[in-house]
């Protein structure tokens, strides 16, 4: 079934190790973190 296979593919994709040298994209420069609440 299409739905079942799609779920399995997503799960497998999550387990793929990141390649050596992988650098996650930097967080957006602004705005900064919220210290208390918004």
């Amino acid at each position: 079934p299409v739905a079942k296979r799609a779920v399995a593919e997503v799960a497998q994709h999550d387990k793929v190790p990141r390649p050596v040298g992988f650098v996650p994209p930097p967080p957006p420069p602004c705005p900064g973190k919220i210290r208390y609440f918004k």
Binding site: P26, P27, P29, C30, P31, G32, K33, I34, R35, Y36, F37, K38
Partner: protein, 248 residues
């Protein structure tokens, strides 16, 4: 070939945080009314290089009101930020700084403050008291009664009102008025003030004893008034500007 320009500063970079700290310190140091504000978020930062070790920095900051009155000697880092359910007040500031040889100096600043939406507070906390106008009749009555009550109980200096800082009213399940106000000691004792209150003058700025009072006046189901005043004591260099002389 010209050298590659450095990447733009991020809002959470240490240099941005240092600039924001200098800006908040300046804003609190140059305010004579209300409460100290704490940094909630750096909204934006823009750096314009002017030369070697010389930058102009434009900052946009989101600040939150603390419980420390501006005249309080408590350092900002020890002041509590008011929670959302206390009907928080937010400040939006644009600041222009110069960073010269690692030292920040503020060249210009512009701030606006506004309370959170009453609807939002009520949605989250239906019975929480909400901020009301400082010249609300019930507020003025509560402040006057609270100060009279304090002065009638103390053997120390007679206190006069400097300014009302905050006022909230709750209607359910009881009708209660909450007020906060700043006070200053006069040259009279509370006993002397009974004879001629008009003769009692605020002490000169360099000798002033400032203080802060909170009071709760229950109107329904039964009248009750509680007041608590704390005097800060002598603080060299701290002055109070009456509203007519204040700068924005």
């Amino acid at each position: 070939l010209p050298a590659a320009s450095p990447p733009p500063l991020g809002c959470d970079d240490p240099e941005s945080e240092a600039a924001a700290e200098a800006a908040v310190s300046y804003i609190n140091g140059h305010s004579h009314h209300g409460y100290k504000f704490a940094l909630n978020r750096i909204e934006n930062i823009r750096v314009i290089p002017q030369g070697l070790n010389n930058d102009i920095i434009f900052l946009e900051l989101d600040l939150l009101e603390t419980t420390c009155h501006i005249l309080s000697p408590t350092p900002l880092e020890n002041c509590t930020v008011r929670s959302f359910t206390e009907h928080a007040v937010e400040g939006d500031c644009d600041i222009k700084l110069q960073k010269l040889n690692g030292q920040f100096s503020v060249l210009a600043s512009k701030c606006h403050s506004h309370a959170d939406s009453s609807e939002d507070v009520t949605k989250f906390c239906p019975d929480c008291p909400l901020l009301v106008s400082l010249n609300n009749t019930e507020v003025l009555k509560a402040v006057t009664a609270a100060l009279n009550k304090h002065n009638s109980k103390t053997a120390d200096a007679y206190l006069k009102l400097l300014e009302i800082g905050r006022a909230k009213i709750q209607y359910h399940p009881a009708h209660i008025v909450f007020v906060e106000f700043a006070v200053a000691a006069t040259n009279c004792s509370a006993e002397e003030a009974k004879a001629n209150v008009e003769a009692c003058q605020l002490l000169p700025d360099n000798q002033s004893n400032f203080g802060f009072c909170t009071a709760t006046m229950v109107i329904l189901p039964s009248d009750n008034l509680e007041v608590n005043c704390q005097l800060y004591g002598h603080q060299p260099g701290v002055t109070y500007s009456p509203p007519a002389q204040a700068t924005s």
